[in-house]
Each structure stands twice: as C-alpha cells, then as structure tokens.
Symmetry: C2
Subunit: 344 residues, 2 copies
Amino acid sequence: MTTIRDVARLAEVSTATVSRVFTSDPAVRPATAERVREAAKQLGYVPNTLARSLRQQTSATWALIIADIENPFLTQVTRGVEDVAQSAGYSLVLCNTDEQPEKEAAYLNSAEQYRVSGVLITPTSATSPVDQLLARGLPVITMDRPLRPDLAVDTVLIDSRRAARSAVDRMIARGRRQIACITGPRRVFTASERVLGYREALLEAGLPIDEQLIHYAAFNEQGGRQAADELLGRAGAAPVEAILVANSMMAVGVLQVLRERGLRPSLDVEIVVFDDAPWTGLLTPAISVIHQPAYELGQAAGKLLLDRLRSPGQPARTVMLSATLPPEDDTPPRDDVLSSALLG
Amino acid sequence: MTTIRDVARLAEVSTATVSRVFTSDPAVRPATAERVREAAKQLGYVPNTLARSLRQQTSATWALIIADIENPFLTQVTRGVEDVAQSAGYSLVLCNTDEQPEKEAAYLNSAEQYRVSGVLITPTSATSPVDQLLARGLPVITMDRPLRPDLAVDTVLIDSRRAARSAVDRMIARGRRQIACITGPRRVFTASERVLGYREALLEAGLPIDEQLIHYAAFNEQGGRQAADELLGRAGAAPVEAILVANSMMAVGVLQVLRERGLRPSLDVEIVVFDDAPWTGLLTPAISVIHQPAYELGQAAGKLLLDRLRSPGQPARTVMLSATLPPEDDTPPRDDVLSSALLG
DNA sequence: CCGGTGGATGTAGACGATTACATGAACCTC
DNA sequence: GAGGTTCATGTAATCGTCTACATCCACCGG
C-alpha cells in the first residue's frame, strides 16, 4: 500500500504538505499541490481513512441500526437517512438486528468501537442499552420507537396510535362489530401503540373489548399467518368482520390464511394494514392501507443527527409525524362492485 | 475516551498485557487477566477498532455494495451475506448505489479507504471500476451480474437466461403467441440475459421475434408501469397475450397498468415474474413466478469471499445457481376456475 | 540596510492499539 | 549450584495521518 510518505518522496515535499493537499488546506501553493496530486495519481495513492480517523478522533460515519432489513418500511427509512448522510458527507454503516436484543447490543458496542460520529436506531425495546454511548457524548437518534424517557435522546415517531384509532373508527362506522387486531411483539412500542389506538376506538364507541381478538405475533409473514390462523380457527366464536394488521409483511400472512379459509378480504373480512406496500393496490377490491411517511422519518432522523453534531449542547427533541388513512370511498365495497372491477 | 493506557495504569500492568487480554492471548495468567478485565469494566473501556485495524493493517469488515436496497431480491441476498459474515466474525458495511455508476465508483473508492478486507458487489455494469481494488490484492466478489471476463474475480450468478427460456416455452405451449418481455436497463446483465432466454425460446419454436414486444425500462415500479403503458397502448397492434417481467418491483407497475386497462392477469394476459415476492400468491388467480435463490446467492458469495481470504492465490471461481419455475398446474386457468377461487 | 510581516513548507509528536524482542523469575536437571 | 528452559510480563517501535509549532524566505516601509 502506498502511503503519504511515498507520495511525499516522489513529489519532493514533506508529508505535511501532502496531507494539506488532501485535506484541501488553502495554504499550499497551486503549483506544489498540482505536483503532489500528480505524484499521488501516479502511485495510485488513496488516503487511509483509518489513520485519519484515529488521528482526528472522529470518523465521518453513522451507524444505522435497524430491526429488519426485509421490512419495506425500514428500507424506506434507510433511504431517507442515506440521502441526508450522503449530502452531508457521511458514510452509513447499516446493521440489522433481526429484532434480537443480543444482536442489537453487539452492534451498539461495535458502533462505539468504530468511533462512528452518530447512531440512528430502531430499538428492539425501550430499554436498549444506549446508556454507555450517551455517557460518552455519542449522539443517538431513535426512530419509530422511543427509548426510556429519562434518556433524553432525539426521537422521531409516527403517530400510529391515532392512525390505528381512525382506522378502527371507520370500521365501526361501516357497521363492523367483531373487529380484531393483529400486531407485533408486545415489547415493540409500535406494536403496543397500535393496540392502544384500537382499544380507544372501541371504548369510545361503547363497544366491548374482547381480548381474544387481539393477537401479538412476530412482525413478519409467518407471524401474520399464525395469528390469523388462531383468530379464525376459534370454534364457536362469532365470525371476525374486520382486522387491523400492524404491518405489510404480516398482512401477506393474514391474507393467505383468509384465502385458504375461503374468506374474501374487504368483503367478508375488512382489512386495514399499516404501511402502503405497493402491491396492496393490486388486490380486488384493494385493501385499505395506512400510509406511514417512512422516507420522511429517515430524513427527519438524519437532520436531527446533523443538528446535534453541529450543536451538541441542546436539549433532546422529539419529532412526531402523522400517518394517514386515505379518504374513504363513497361506495362501500359490495359483491357487484367486485365483479365489475374484476371482470371488467 | 479511556484508552488501553488508563486500563494498564489501574490494573498495574503494561499496555502490552492489557492488549493481550483483549486479543485473548493465552499467555496471560488468569489472575492478571481478571484484574485487567475488572479495571476495564470499571473504566468502561472499549477497544478502539480504528487503532487496531491501523496497526494490524486489516479491518474485519466487508463492504457490500448493492444496486437497490428497496429490491426485495437484494435484501434477501444481503441476509445471506450477513449471516456468513457474522458467523465468521466480520462486520458488514452496506452501500446502496441506486444503479448509478457514479455512486458505485464513490463507494468502491471509500471501501478502499476504509481498508475493508473484502468487497461484494452487484455491479451496475460489466465495466465497473474494480481494477484498482484488484490491483491492490483486495478480494472482490461479484454477485448476480458478472464483470469483464478478463478481471478474474469470483462470481455467483443465477441462470436466469435458462429460466426465462423455460417460462416462455411454457407460454408457447399454452398457446400464447403475442408474447412480450419487460426487462431492466440494457446495461444490466440480468436484464439482457432474460431477453436472450426469451429470444431463444421463440426462435426454437419457430416464432417470429417482434422487437416492439421487448421493452427495456428502469428496474422498479415506475419502469414496469411505463413499459406496460407503451406495450399495451400501441394502436392497431395484435393484443399482447403474455408478458415475461424481469423483477417483482416492475411487476407491480405492470399489473397496475393491466388493471387500469381492464385486462385480467393470467386470464387475458399471462404474466410470469422473476422473484417470488410473497404477495404474488395473493392475486386471484395467482400469477406465475420464477423463484431465484437470493439468500443462497448471498451465502455462496460470502463463502467465496471467506475462501479467498483464507487462500488468496487460487484461481477465480464462478458459481452458477439455477432459478426454478414451479411445476405447471394441470388445469390451465379459466374463467370458471377464477370465480370458484374467488368466491369460494 | 534592518526589523517586521506573512506566506509556504518542514519537523516531529501525537492518536490507540499490536507485537517482536528483551527481561526476569521460577523451576528443573545433573 | 550452575546452566538451561519456560512462562509471564514489560519495553519500545510501528501502523498512516494530522497539526502545532518552527523555520525559511521574500518582500516592505522607513
């Protein structure tokens, strides 16, 4: 590997001058700079970021720790963060925890070892071990899920409780009564939050809450499948008329089960899903979705991190984005609408 | 930041001993090691990976450069790579090129700066600038798309030409004649390869090839939508009876257009899609998919990299995985099948 | 002509770890 | 008990870069 010394020798200057050229120090005479660049090019010199970061005590890198790289919601969040990072000159190290606290702890630790300049995380739980990072003054931004309130970290959330509530309100208005909720692991904030919204809507409408209709499962297709199987397989129970599903991967599982049981989404069982996966529009009739501003969440998180890096002292901020339920169709789905849409 | 020196002082040993403890050198007496660990814990010491990598001239990190993080095929590839990396003790830096050669070049450059120990890439073209990395002896593994054959890099591919050919064979056997192909950018290997398979099938069946039926577009929903619009909007042309679509994101766009034009997938226009996105099974009737072993591709790539790190000298290898088209239903879809599946 | 000023460049000591080699103590053997 | 061996630990150089400070030189005003 060629080093700064090799370049210095060839260009007949000191290593300091070479370094100045590569850090764009204006004090170097243009002619000298040109000679250095020429030598570097000839030798194929590339600065060693490791050495630079070690010396400067900071690396222009952020760690982005997400719960599941296969979740389209989170990949969109990633895009948002990425765009902000890139435009501000930071690289991104992406870590995938798979919702496992142990993996998460390992990544938090390695973020510290790599001396990244900031960490953005969708924590697996409110008690994720970020204390040590904060104690060192390493900025942490939490996304989509809050951490313990005493930790004072910048936070970006989506108001999914309110969205869940509106969705269930609408189901009730349409006359549904046996309304179920399939959500993620209890420990995950957004999973519980969506159940809260669901409960609020029922309470406010004066409807009873049947705990049998609330299912916590893994935040993936398999989880959705399992929960739907239990929900729909209950002997002697009143038939389920609507289901609020907490994410699009679970929805795939739920819809598969409906299909296997000969139930038609929207017609026999109304389905509302968090996340607007593009395929939801392809079903006939299309199922309802709750749009979450994922890209914007990532962007907002990136900007909070930039702000904090610029002015470390300021108090922690929380940004709340809202999820939206598209305006209701005037014509509620009926069988004849289905046929015409499908056959026509 | 506490350093190895602080720990050494507190534990009353030299920095060498502390280092030995953290690199699990067995030559340290257990009692001493314990004292060191205790001191480290008390001070909250975390080794500085930057310094370690600088000294050891290698960082236990791989760069994974993928074309599109929102492509489910590639996120599955990522999972495969990740699992191999993790079990071998490597960290993964994930970079997203968005199919843009400039971004790709920037990431290749920064991989070099970070002194990663290997690079895995889905190149945006066969001429991606990996020469310099190879010249330095930095292992490069190319995935899903080959690089110039003179470069001698390890390669993992999926035989999508053959899969495309089988899919079109089947369409022909079912009596389709106006068969179209919607694929990705011409520059991308897999995009062109799928067209080749398509052509081969038509040629072999003695059918004419209509260049108007072949559309190159962006590898995303928008691209699929645009290509389908052009394809189906041609005035006075014979109606398209089948479409081979080169990935699942494009398929969403294509299916939207069909829907808008009142055409029923499978019935009016047979659709076969590369990648088995989970939602494809939810359509009625379900559309055909070509299963690509994405996770296995990632795994294979990771293993090739491990092998190469262990024995750098060996000649480059190419692993070819096969894509599979699920066995054909005995009963070709007909309207009555549709109704029973949908209503039943 | 002299002292001062400012601009371009060089010198050398960090940054935080690893590791070849040196050291010294303990133990063994004859 | 001298010499050899082994084991645990210490010393100090090194990885590649940045940067505070020193140096040198040209130029300027009086």
